[in-house]
Symmetry: C2
Subunit: 337 residues, 2 copies
């Protein structure tokens, strides 16, 4: 398989991108990489050119660029050229650590939607925060600010296919993010979405889930509109970061006794920090596009890039998109006949 | 001032309610209490009847009752009778630790809205989670699942009056919960709300705030629709609780060395736990009702009850509602002329 990489996107690009890609290339012998970016910089950084092709580009989309405009104007940017390669069939997936909006726009307008998908959604992988270990998926975590019931129903289907083919979960448990657990609870949007999702017997729908219980391990996939999903996700991130800061401050101001205590407790605290560390969980995926379109966060280091490539490989190898496309086609022909 | 107390609502009622009310009565000499509930139980629990009147009631609204129906049918419940006392002018505020939906219904349908308020919203007080200490207010944290731009604008006004008159903050900083910081970002709802709020020069509007930064101390009041506000609030609560559990588990499985470390670090960990403890921050307030309608959580102990009474006293003494009512009346007469 071939992955098209926007080598210039991200705070530490192209260094961290190249380093992460080389690590992944060494481990995954079935993956080839097309690296789009500044030829001189990439040539200097790359240690070994095996299964790794530089495609020179001259433009760069920055974090400050207006997404849709950037995609239209910067035709020779590393991102647009990488997306174009996927559209043309020269690569199987698109990967970037750059401007999220621009990557979503490239996914929607260059690579395009799967026929029958109304609104692709962004799927995030997050740690379970409770006694047990593991992760869960949340989608839409921010692609569409104004969701409709049919979109949420499709997210449930897309989430099911992702959890099955990428995470290897049999009959994944799907929950709907809501403000109460009873089926009649919620906004107009979630009440209607609940009806659509619960009416599909192919889904292992566990019902409404409150944001408080989102990360407790009771669901494999949580479905939300992009605005609420984004708020719940960022509230989780901000709270986790804030508590870790408060814990650090508490230790730093605790005197000799407290510092000694922290030293003795260090292995446990590191384990906790590791559990919360999202860099090993892979990037956010625009589900519903014709190919995997994956975004790792802007501050990604080589390790995050490596893990995101691993995730993309699982998506391609697990045939998630062909399977989902075939499923939708069957549904449509059934409706047509 | 007089506070009407639903003495039977809550997991530990009436014991914890009576104990908390007696503590508050001893401290706040200007407050009288009307305790609505089972006469025999209350008589047995009360130690000192000073400024404390039992109003016997025979019915009880449970956590499982359907709110609006319960309000209509259980006319002699402690909650309905307490709300009726506020409506009739026999008390200045309503307090309950019972069924939230029923309390909101009692606030809306028995006590009623301030003239000109479209949709009362629920205001919560939450800890700042970062280097600095303090609290912030979030509203609507869950009264209305389907918000409109005008509702969010009124929440900004209500939040301003609350922060000024109850928390004593001069010109409080108001933020709008959104999925990005730029003014054009957001859902249709938040883009329109941003325009309304930023057009009012009486508001110290700091703009959009992402859920990640909600609790970092940059705002005194965060405005949101009730569905998103609820998701952000519960995600914060769930994450904080989950991390504390994980921290405890990490310590418990860390062997002798780790446990010794935790012992040395105990004062710091307790300080952290205290900062996260919401029981001292007061209850959730239905802002926009004609009197303070305040809900402490179901599991409230005497301490939480005491702090919630303290908050209600500040609302009544600070004249928040008369001031806000007068402000709205001025606005309306200006519009009419």
């Amino acid at each position: 398989m071939k992955i098209a990489v926007d080598a210039m996107g991200g705070d530490y690009a192209p260094q961290s991108v190249v380093a992460g890609v080389e690590r992944a290339r060494d481990e995954f012998k079935d993956v080839e990489f097309l690296l789009f970016g500044n030829q001189a910089q990439l040539t200097e950084l790359i240690k070994d050119k095996e299964r790794l092709t530089i495609i020179p580009t001259t433009e760069l989309i920055t974090m400050n660029d207006e997404p849709v405009k950037a995609i239209r104007k910067k035709k020779d940017s590393s991102l647009v050229r990488a997306a174009q390669a996927v559209k043309d069939g020269a690569a199987d997936a698109l990967f970037s650590c750059g401007n999220t909006g621009a990557l979503l726009a490239a996914g929607l307008f260059i690579i395009g939607r799967i026929r029958g998908v109304a609104r692709p959604g962004l799927l995030s992988t997050l740690p379970i925060i409770s006694g047990q270990e593991g992760v869960f998926n949340l989608l839409d975590s921010g692609a569409n600010a104004d969701g409709k019931p049919e979109h949420l129903y499709q997210y449930a289907l897309l989430g099911k296919y992702y959890a099955e083919s990428v995470r290897g979960i049999d009959n994944p448990r799907i929950g709907l993010l809501n403000n109460g657990t009873e089926p009649h609870k919620g906004s107009k949007l979630t009440v209607a979405a609940h009806q659509l999702i619960s009416a599909d017997p192919s889904l292992n729908f566990v019902g409404n889930v409150e944001a408080r219980d989102m990360a407790n391990g009771s669901c494999d996939v949580i479905v939300a509109d992009g605005f609420t999903g984004n708020a719940a996700l960022k509230s989780m991130e901000g709270t986790a970061k804030g508590i870790m800061t408060m814990l650090k401050d508490a230790i730093m101001t605790s005197g000799v006794k407290g510092k000694l205590g922290a030293l003795l407790l260090k292995p446990s605290l590191m384990k906790l920090k590791q559990r919360m560390d999202q860099s090993t969980y892979g990037g956010a995926v625009l589900l519903g596009a014709k190919a995997p379109v994956v975004k790792a966060h802007g501050a990604s280091d080589a390790r995050t890039v490596y893990y995101t490539v691993k995730q993309i490989r699982a998506m391609v190898a697990g045939q998630m998109i062909p399977k989902f496309t075939a499923y939708l086609a069957t549904q449509q022909s059934r409706e047509d006949s």
